[in-house]
């Protein structure tokens, strides 16, 4: 028997499309459920207990006590406030620096490709290792930052008021290139004829910027902001390595200490859930904007 439909012929000799699809997709889904969703359910159970992973005592069910304790703890709220401050400062800095450099790079610059690549280097590095060597750069007595800026023995990391900004500054150095990259992609998509029309109308550079460039780049800039906001919210390594000030204790560090230094496993599981709910809220904003941009 012969058939001219290539698909059924191939299907009979090999696996059917349906089984190939299942073979290709299901293992990944199962893997992700086992290693992402299952642990979360596991810790949901622990979040209602007074379990401590450091002792052999069995876990006692305490109901919503952990959540009540955490939501009434002013220190936890201050950790969230620190995180929020950190996110705002570092994301704002990255947008200003990244978009600024992208605007400069969008003109006729020699060696543009090489320079763009070199500027990407900071974001390719390990945050932990970056944190470590910025400690050397920030050193009050022999750091090159104080020397280059003529600040004498300025205490970047041991001054409680300054430390969070110092961490944010390192984050800005590391991630402005990301904003720059997305901005460059957005800028290169602005149709040239709009600028030509503006030039014919004798529009000034400021008018051109605010009426043509900014509105057209805004969607992509928004994506960069959301991406960076989510990443900054998760910050752990950089702040943890650079300094150990109470004023730089972002929520991830609090969570780490609670879970792996104080061994309050049950309580930390509950805090993890509070953080999780916040991440889901931020994620929803992200998806909303992503869809909006795609509909453009």
């Amino acid at each position: 028997m012969t058939t001219l439909d290539p698909r059924s012929r191939a299907a009979r000799r090999g696996l059917s499309d349906l089984s190939i699809r299942n073979l290709f997709i299901i293992p990944t889904i199962v893997f992700l459920i086992v290693f992402n969703i299952f642990p979360l359910l596991y810790s949901l159970g622990y979040s209602f207990t007074d379990f401590r992973a450091s002792s052999n005592a069995p876990a006692n069910f305490v109901g919503l006590d952990n959540y009540r304790t955490l939501l009434n703890d002013p220190f936890i709220w201050s950790n969230f406030a620190i995180t929020a401050k950190y996110v705002i400062v570092s994301v704002a800095g990255q947008v200003i620096v990244g978009f600024g450099v992208a605007l400069l790079l969008n003109r006729d610059i020699p060696f543009k490709g090489l320079i763009t690549t070199l500027l990407l280097l900071p974001m390719m590095l390990s945050m932990a290792v970056v944190g470590l060597f910025w400690k050397l750069l920030y050193d009050p007595s022999f750091g090159i930052i104080n020397y280059a800026l003529g600040l004498g023995r300025f205490e970047w990391l041991s001054d409680p008021d300054m430390a969070l900004y110092a961490v944010a500054l390192t984050d800005i150095w590391m991630w402005s290139p990301f904003v720059m990259l997305l901005s460059l992609a957005g800028l290169s998509a602005v149709p040239k004829h709009l600028y030509e029309a503006a030039a014919i109308d004798r529009a000034g550079p400021l008018y051109t910027f605010f009426r043509i460039t900014l509105p057209l780049v805004a969607p992509i800039l928004m994506i960069a902001i959301i991406f960076r906001t989510m990443e900054a919210f998760k910050t752990f390594d950089l702040a943890y390595i650079l300094t150990s000030q109470p004023t730089t204790e972002v929520i991830s560090i609090r969570l780490y200490k609670m879970a792996f230094q104080e061994w309050q496993t049950g309580l930390s599981c509950a805090l993890a859930y509070i953080v999780l709910i916040m991440v889901i809220a931020i994620t929803n904003i992200y998806v909303k904007y992503l869809n909006k941009v795609k509909e453009r």
Partner: protein, 319 residues
């Protein structure tokens, strides 16, 4: 009119060139500083004003990989003369190389951490990209019920703060004995990178025309043959770019490595900072460890610069 405009355009361009130059110098100065510190003699690492010109040394790298201890007494001139050149470099730093009972040189913790990083990053990258590619193909070419929801679920696994997942993972790993093992970290990093790999590869595979496979099917290929012989070669650059991203993420990961490993499977990111300790750290050795660790990523970035630009803006920019 036209002439006036070109003059102002030229002036703006000149400002842009100067601005870009300044930005590049500021952004690269910290990296330059770490590289130069890794070639400095110890006494020049922390001078004020900073030492810019010096004779480069490799002693920091020698000290990095050898186990050393402070010298109680100076070596005799005979001992000094009989020692190999690298041991003399360590002598000059006021330290001596630690040997075991048989007189064999002991290595520091760094080489094994570096090898651990390589093992974990390479294996997890291969797994994440392999699984990610076939899953992306599945989503790209076949009808999947609730496709958008599944894709969002896959992406959502990446959005969780590592510390949140690490707490239950630590307990589970402890129960099954996966803590401080290479396999444990490999599984974690594969899970972490898989979502990214699926999304990135879907973008690349979507752009390969379906007609290519249909032509292959008409020629008598099976679906599997068409996938391996037609689609995979077309997706090669996408696979390379995805692999570099996954490698960089796994190579640089810190939080999971800090929590899940102690010794046997510890990678370099938690190890290098732990060497600072208290007292006076030898910054030249720390800088050389950092520099060696940055090298693979810097090379990848340079080799794949053109693909990186595309991969990084995935989802955000569709042509």
């Amino acid at each position: 009119m036209a002439a006036v405009q070109t003059t102002s355009e030229r002036a703006l361009n000149r400002i842009a060139i100067v601005g870009v130059l300044i930005a590049t110098i500021i952004f690269l100065a910290p990296i330059y500083w770490i590289v130069s510190t890794s070639f400095k003699p110890r006494n020049l690492a922390t001078t004020i004003p900073p030492t810019v010109l010096f004779e480069p040394e490799i002693s920091p790298f020698v000290k990095l990989v050898l186990r050393r201890s402070q010298m109680r007494e100076q070596p005799t001139p005979e001992e000094y003369a009989a020692a190999p050149w690298w041991e003399r470099l360590v002598f000059d730093g006021g330290e001596k190389v630690v040997r075991d009972g048989q007189g064999n040189v002991q290595l520091s913790g760094y080489p094994s951490r570096f090898v651990n990083s390589l093992i974990v990053a390479i294996v997890s990258t291969v797994l994440a990209v392999g699984m990610g590619t076939i899953t992306a193909y599945g989503f790209s070419r076949f009808k999947v019920k609730g496709e958008q929801d599944w894709l969002f679920f896959i992406l959502s696994t990446r959005m969780l703060p590592p510390v949140v997942v690490a707490i239950p993972m630590f307990l589970m790993y402890r129960a099954v004995g996966l803590n401080d093992t290479h396999l444990g970290l490999i599984i974690l990093y594969t899970a972490f990178n898989l979502s990214f790999s699926v999304w990135l590869m879907k973008g690349f595979i979507d752009e390969i025309p379906k007609e290519y496979e249909e032509a292959a099917l008409v020629d008598g290929y099976t679906r599997m043959e068409a996938f391996f012989k037609v689609v995979l070669p077309e997706a090669a650059t996408g696979i390379a770019a995805t692999a570099v991203f996954c490698f960089i993420t796994a190579w640089n990961e810190y939080a999971f490595a800090l929590i899940m490993t102690r010794r046997t499977a510890q990678t370099a990111p938690p190890f290098i900072p732990s060497q600072v300790g208290s007292g006076l750290p030898d910054w030249t050795v720390i800088a050389s460890g950092t520099f060696l660790f940055l090298l693979p990523v810097a090379i990848f970035t340079f080799l794949l610069r053109n693909h990186l630009l595309r991969g990084m803006s995935f989802g955000a920019i569709r042509k």
